[in-house]
Symmetry: C2
């Protein structure tokens, strides 16, 4: 494995990607905000297995943070990120300055309606508009044939899938399973904010998902049943302040009353949770699909 | 010249474009709504001179028409368009059905703020959002290295340039001079709507631009002077109902009080006109740039 190249200018990355593609190579991109953990690295490994050139992007995108959110304190660890990304199979790390992505008179946004209005979109207005805008930019800069995202951010993944389909980006969107700590906490760069006490309370998320999964395995298919099971379990974690507990369609993010199939389509539902432990906002989810074990 | 291929599916066009690019070829795209005239064909010829494969797209994009506008009656002449496009150097005509571009649950839009609020944007809310959305889609589908637009639609060209820069599309945007009928009327597919009497009144546009150009040549640099000259000339065409007469910056579309240079930048201004003759809305413009003859 040759050392990963660190590039800062969009034009350099595009030139590199086009040269890879002219030689018949496939480009994979793993968009991240850095502070890489095993969740990100599982995406890099998948990209390395499927593509000839892997670009891991590290950019704390200001437009997806709202006022009062954690843009300023979001952890920035580029040197370490480059080492980790490289060890996992990254060929190029793209870490632009904000001004290289957003000109001073930047005026263009990409927006997905509908899917973005509920769940995290309800409490973070403008968040997904920031996400789709930067991802569109990164797909253009990297000219990727495949892009890799984690299922922990399930709404984000659905929104990006929709954007890619709607705007006809010629890129395959891969959404890979959530990677968890040994105790079950979903990996997230924001876990770094948690005190030991808060971290224990954050386990309410995975505990609630596991409780709902038991109900699913026992035959429960209604939103009322699955959500109540999860919410009751969350209640046992007094330090966790729930924001939403919702059962939605995994593609449209529309609320479901019950998980049921349609003609030729197995029933599926996403149980999505969000809440706060102290000042830290955390999300998690489980995917239920008829005929499969729950994916947590 | 081999006969142009007519394709209807986005995926077929993308596959073709990628194969051209893998062999080191350059792809040029000329996005049109069909009813091709010499203005469009001048773009095709420029693309053919600069690119290895020219894709002319023919698609009457519903999202850029407002309620009560001419979407239904917009002229559709695909057979003739294919012949004309081919003769001018087109290799592939892409003429998709609406459903092939916009899925039933299409939810994604691309929007440029600021530049789109004045001039045509003021009287056609949503128009430029439709334009930027379809052009982003067409750039993705065709994977174009260069895209060609006419300067008759100067605001559209500025908006597309901004979108391409902001979203880092790796495409060169070429904006080529307005092509005119022998009597000076700017070529437009909508000229087909005009009766003989209306057509005579439509000449008010180019007449007004020429009058303003005389003032420019005589040293006039103020918006008041140039716009008044144009407006007075338009007044002589009683059948022409002016919508706007405005002097704006050619890149930002912001109103100018006076055309003046900045450090290292020659002064430039766009005199933009719009109005109606009968039920037909027409636009035209002239570009004034210090040290150059007026471009009408």
């Amino acid at each position: 494995m040759s050392p990963a190249r660190l590039l800062h200018l969009p034009s350099e990355v595009t030139e590199l990607a086009l040269s890879v593609k002219r030689e018949g190579g496939r480009v994979g991109v793993v968009p991240t905000m850095g502070c890489l953990h095993e969740g990100h690295l599982s995406l890099v490994r998948a990209a390395a297995a499927e593509c000839d050139h892997v670009i891991t992007t590290v950019f704390v995108n200001p437009t997806q943070f709202g006022p009062g959110e954690d843009f300023e304190r979001y952890p920035r660890t580029l040197g370490n990120d480059v080492r980790l990304a490289e060890a996992a199979g990254t060929h190029t790390v793209f870490a632009p300055e904000t001004a290289a992505m957003y000109a001073a008179d930047h005026a263009t946004t990409v927006e997905v309606a509908g899917l973005t209005s509920g769940l995290c979109g309800a409490s973070r207005p403008g968040h997904f508009k920031g996400v789709t805008t930067i991802v569109a930019m990164l797909l253009n800069v990297t000219q990727a044939d495949a892009a890799y995202f984690g299922r922990k951010d399930a709404q984000q993944a659905a929104v990006i899938r929709r954007m890619v389909r709607d705007l006809h980006f010629p890129v395959r969107v891969a959404v890979l399973p959530t990677v968890r700590e040994p105790d079950g906490l979903a990996m997230s760069s924001r876990n770094a904010y948690l005190s030991a006490e808060e971290r224990a309370q954050a386990l309410g998320l995975v505990s609630a998902l596991r409780r709902a999964a038991e109900c699913w395995e026992a035959g429960e298919r209604t939103a009322a049943g699955l959500c109540t099971a999860a919410a009751d379990q969350l209640d046992a974690y007094a330090g966790f302040l729930a924001e939403y507990v919702a059962l939605v369609h995994p593609d449209t993010m529309e609320p479901l009353q019950v998980i049921e199939g349609a003609e030729g389509v197995e029933g599926a539902g996403l149980l999505a949770l969000a809440g706060r432990v102290g000042a830290t906002r955390l999300i998690d989810n489980a995917l239920f699909r008829e005929g499969q074990a729950p994916q947590i």
